[in-house]
């Protein structure tokens, strides 16, 4: 009886390890950028996990108050293949739902401080990429992001973003790209595999 209960909980593919009980692990060594980078690419991603999770702490060097991070899948730069919808909240304000959109840069995942923002302020985001290795579903992304772009409460931003890549292909590479600038040195970028 106990074995039956456990088999229900641990209903994973024992051959691939997907769905196994266990901790999430790094899919690549953590990166703390030694210099500015125009893009950050995780290539040759293992297909052994069920899901991926990307964690980013960053800031842009663009000559502006704010910049935007996108994730591109397998190098696909076709605008029609991406979509996202964003709920944006600021301190003291009511959340605004921005219209669905698309970009040839990929799926929007974060808003980050840039050159004219408060010094040493960075944004963080956690991006989940679901069932990335199987070829049944079009790929889905969900991101939680917060950023402090200035001293006023209205410059404290939180975004909840859902989106995806309209392809059933297995994800083998992810490229992070900013709308206008480069990722500042000391950016922390990590890719995890979820069993």
């Amino acid at each position: 009886m106990l074995r039956n209960d456990l088999s229900l909980i641990d209903a994973h593919d024992h051959t691939s390890g997907k769905g196994a009980l266990g901790p999430i692990v790094r899919a690549a060594p953590a990166q703390i950028l030694a210099a500015n980078a125009a893009t950050i690419t995780f290539s040759n991603i293992s297909q052994a996990f069920q899901h991926l999770q990307l964690r980013l702490l960053s800031r842009s060097n663009a000559a502006a108050a704010v910049d935007y991070v996108y994730v591109q899948f397998n190098g696909d730069a076709t605008k029609a293949n991406y979509w996202y919808v964003q709920t944006r909240s600021v301190g003291g304000g009511t959340p605004t739902i921005l219209t669905t959109s698309a970009s040839d840069l990929g799926v929007l995942v974060a808003e980050v401080p840039a050159g004219s923002s408060e010094a040493n302020a960075a944004a963080v985001c956690t991006v989940d990429i679901f069932d990335y290795a199987r070829t049944l579903w079009k790929k889905r992304v969900q991101s939680i992001n917060s950023a402090r772009e200035g001293s006023a409460a209205t410059a404290w931003v939180q975004n909840q973003i859902g989106g995806g890549w309209l392809s059933t292909s297995a994800v083998t590479s992810l490229t992070l790209v900013l709308l206008t600038g480069s990722f500042r040195g000391d950016t922390v970028a990590e890719l995890y595999g979820v069993p």
């Binding site: 893009t39 950050i40 605004t96």
Partner: protein, 73 residues
Amino acid sequence: MDQKLVIDCQTGQASWLDLNADEQAALLARQGQPDPFAAAIAAAEQRKADLDALLAQFRVKTDVQAVVGKQPS
């Protein structure tokens, strides 16, 4: 020349590479372009302000009608 970082998840090796000509041109083209979200954010905030103003008018109307004993129309 700007650089990009590529991390090979199989070997764990991180490589700094120069952008190729197309990538460099795309980066330069993106720099300095207006914030594409500014208009959408401003429009959303204006819609909220309009709704708040409408709600405030409704509240005044129902308050007055309550005083004179009439039902809101």
